[in-house]
């Protein structure tokens, strides 16, 4: 299917009837720019509505948006201004090509009575037209458009693969963690690869086989002459009947638990915000408890470190005093040495005046004359002065003083320097923990504002009830499984007797027997084919998804591709074939790749309509997404907000891939206006 034109009338924010989107015939892809709340989501919901007559709520996929503003507080499908003015006529019209044909699909609701304002859905009439514009036989209108669309265009349950808000990518990120994958997501994947066709086939043929066999068995029982065989047949039939009754009773109980579960789930869904807040409160309280524990252990550590804290605080002064003392000691040693040298020099000079030989080497010296004696005496006098000065200086500190200072400083010194770092690290950790505590308390306060104490208790009780109901349900499912196996065993025994009977069979019996065999064989064939087929699809999706992943990822040189497992969980493989945890952005890229690969491998041809495509992808990855989808898909309609793609930049960069682009703006309050940018 390729969409050629969409017209909207009084559709959500699109007031009035002049809202048209045309898509190019050569390049049917398009970009519709618009800030959040400007009507992007309403655009793709219009396609959903035209095809299926209803619009699913984004957060509650099993619930639908109301048609009119008086139906609920949710934003309605009929434009509120039009409704307030008494105009309840709203419509979506799509022109599209499919296979070789061109079609017009109109889904319009208009008031049943001209003299009465439409207040509720029953006051409106549906006009649904699906017209084959090329059919010249005079029978251009499809009789059952809803069925035709589901069978020929796209089954409603698969529409989420093609019409989607990129918020859904986060759901697909769960594919990287098999414990977190939602059951509904697994069902969606099975649906898109169409495996239910085979599962349903096996189921339908098995039921048919059972039916044919029951008819055969009844014919057999009526005509049976052998008394022994008749008796055994009767016994087994009664046993089977009694087991079936027990199974029915278990199934009745199961249904009752399922109803209770549904009702609890519905209640929790209705109280979704409260539930979220309640879960958040529970989570925050647990975090707070653990935070309190950490704070307390950190404080204990600090206490033990703090016994040395006074040393830590005085450490700089103690170090400086120690250094000063060492310096003093050195100076003292230096001075003592010098005094010794001076004494030696004085003695030597005095010997020289007296004409004595050298006291060191014993060499004779000449007797000094008067001038030399004066010089020697002056020199001796200078040396004595220096000696006196040094002797005075070296008196303080005395050895006793030094010893006292040393002894005083020793206990003040830290055993090792690490204590100071450890104290500072602990202090840092404590202040971090206290900050976390503060943040948690403000989050708790915010969450508690959303929900009262009583409500919180109700939610917690509902969650606990739900868990216990689910436990009961699972237990019953196991019991029923066991019962079914018993019934199957007995039935096989009974079947063995009836089919191998030597009594003469009527043509009717022959026919029923053959029908049973045929349907059983077909059922086995479908069951047997399922695994082979799933494996083929798994491989196909894996190959395609890997190609897309490497084409979109901004880090593709480090990756080998994706591995899709049997249960369709996904691993990102790096170049060494190891599984990679993948960053947030890479897992979003993975999600895009898997969705596109699944859509492509389904064999369904339908435009991809992607709302808010960014979702934390980063500019480079996002540009790769635009490039990949616009280049490789027959028709893609992107609906980026202003942060995801600026219209000027978008037209300039991607204009070559698209036939048209549009920009949504708001006029007269809350009304959406469509501005055509690139025209074909």
């Amino acid at each position: 299917m390729i969409i050629e034109k969409i017209s909207l009338r009084n559709w959500q924010g699109y007031y009035g009837s002049k809202h048209e989107f045309l898509f190019g015939s050569e390049k049917p892809s398009s970009i519709v720019y618009g800030k959040n709340t400007f009507g992007k989501t309403a655009f793709w919901e219009a396609i959903e509505f035209a095809l299926y007559g209803r619009v699913r709520k984004r957060k509650q996929p099993n619930k639908f948006k109301p048609f009119m503003s008086n139906q609920s507080s949710d934003k309605p499908l009929l434009n509120t201004d039009a409704y307030n003015e008494g105009n309840s006529d709203f419509a979506v019209e799509i022109f599209f090509s499919h296979e070789e044909g061109h079609y017009r699909l109109l889904r319009r609701y208009h008031p049943k009575f001209t003299n009465k304002k439409a207040e509720k859905l029953s006051d409106l009439i549906l006009q649904l037209e699906l017209e084959n514009l090329q059919d010249d036989t005079g029978d251009r209108f499809e009789k059952n458009p809803n069925r035709w669309i589901n069978e020929n265009i796209l089954p409603e349950r698969l529409s989420k693969f093609f019409l989607f808000d990129a918020e859904r990518l986060e759901e697909y990120e769960e594919l990287m963690d098999s414990d977190r994958v939602d059951v509904r997501l697994k069902e969606d994947i099975e649906n898109i690869i169409r495996s239910p066709i085979l599962k349903n086939g096996a189921h339908v043929f098995k039921n048919l086989a059972n039916r044919y066999y029951r008819d055969y068995d009844s014919e057999y029982a009526q005509n049976l002459k052998n008394q022994k065989e008749r008796k055994r047949h009767q016994e087994l039939t009664e046993e089977i009947e009694s087991l079936k009754k027990a199974r029915t009773e278990l199934e009745r109980q199961l249904k009752s638990w399922k109803d209770k579960i549904n009702s609890k789930q519905n209640w929790l869904e209705e109280n979704d915000k409260s539930k979220e807040a309640s879960l958040q409160i529970k989570h925050i309280k647990a975090e707070l408890t653990s935070n309190e524990g950490n704070i307390s252990s950190c404080r204990d550590d600090l206490k033990s470190i703090m016994t040395n804290a006074w040393r830590v605080i005085l450490q700089d002064q103690v170090n400086s005093a120690n250094q000063k003392l060492e310096k003093e000691i050195l100076l003292q040693e230096k001075m003592t040495k010098r005094i010794g040298v001076i004494e030696e020099e004085i003695r030597d000079k005095m010997d020289e005046i007296a004409g004595k030989p050298c006291s060191h080497c014993g060499a004779k010296r000449h007797e000094p004359d008067d001038n030399e004696r004066v010089t020697l005496r002056n020199s001796i006098s200078n040396l004595k002065e220096e000696q006196k000065e040094l002797t005075d200086k070296s008196k303080f500190p005395t050895n006793d003083d030094i010893w006292k200072v040393r002894n005083a400083l020793r206990p003040m010194s830290l055993p090792e320097r690490a204590n100071l770092e450890s104290l500072s690290n602990k202090e840092k950790r404590l202040s971090g923990l206290l900050k976390t505590k503060f943040d948690l308390n403000s989050r708790l306060e915010d969450a508690e504002k959303l929900i009262g104490e009583d409500k919180d208790r109700d939610i917690q009780k509902a969650l606990s009830d739900l868990k216990s109901y689910q436990g009961n349900r699972d237990e019953l499912i196991d019991k029923i499984g066991g019962m079914k196996a018993k019934i199957a065993g007995k039935s096989d025994e009974l079947k063995g007797i009836t089919l191998s009977s030597t009594e003469k069979k009527s043509v009717k019996m022959e026919r029923l027997q053959f029908a049973d065999q045929l349907c059983t064989t077909l059922s086995d064939l479908f069951t047997g084919t399922l695994e082979t087929y799933r494996e083929k699809m798994r491989k196909g999706v894996e190959q395609r998804a890997s190609e897309i992943f490497l084409s979109i990822s901004n880090n593709s040189e480090n990756y080998e591709g994706l591995r899709i497992n049997d249960d369709f969980t996904v691993n990102i493989l790096n170049k060494k074939d190891y599984m990679d945890a993948g960053s947030g952005a890479q897992s979003l890229v993975m999600a895009y790749s898997v969705i596109d690969a699944l859509a492509q491998c389904s064999g369904i041809e339908f435009p991809m309509v992607i709302d808010t495509p960014g979702r934390g992808l980063g500019v480079e990855n996002l540009n790769n997404v635009y490039n990949h989808f616009l280049k490789n898909n027959p028709q893609v309609i992107f609906l980026p907000n202003d942060l995801e793609l600026d219209p000027e930049h978008g037209d300039k960069t991607f204009g070559k891939f698209v036939g048209t682009t549009y920009e949504l703006s708001k006029v007269e309050g809350d009304r959406t206006k469509v501005i055509s940018r690139i025209k074909e």
Binding site: P155, I197, V204, L208, R511, T529, Y533, R544, Q600
Partner: protein, 69 residues
């Protein structure tokens, strides 16, 4: 690119050839059966699908047992 529906038919047809009971079926009939299942993949009322399937099976049986009679 894989076309899921075609792939299902192809895989089934590969398997059909191995079973003598299914000799009664030609490719067209198998395709018809699959087409019915495909069209009712999302039909919540599987009984309706079953009823339609039964009609198809009955037609095949009529042909076989007319020959025998």
């Amino acid at each position: 690119m894989i076309d899921a529906e075609e792939e299902i038919i192809r895989t089934l047809l590969e398997e059909v050839g191995n079973d003598p009971i299914l000799e009664e079926f030609d490719e067209k009939q198998i395709r018809n059966l699959i087409a019915l299942l495909i069209n009712t993949q999302f039909d919540d009322d599987l009984k309706k699908t079953q009823a339609r399937m039964k009609i198809m099976i009955e037609n095949i049986l009529d042909i076989k047992f007319k020959v025998i009679q």
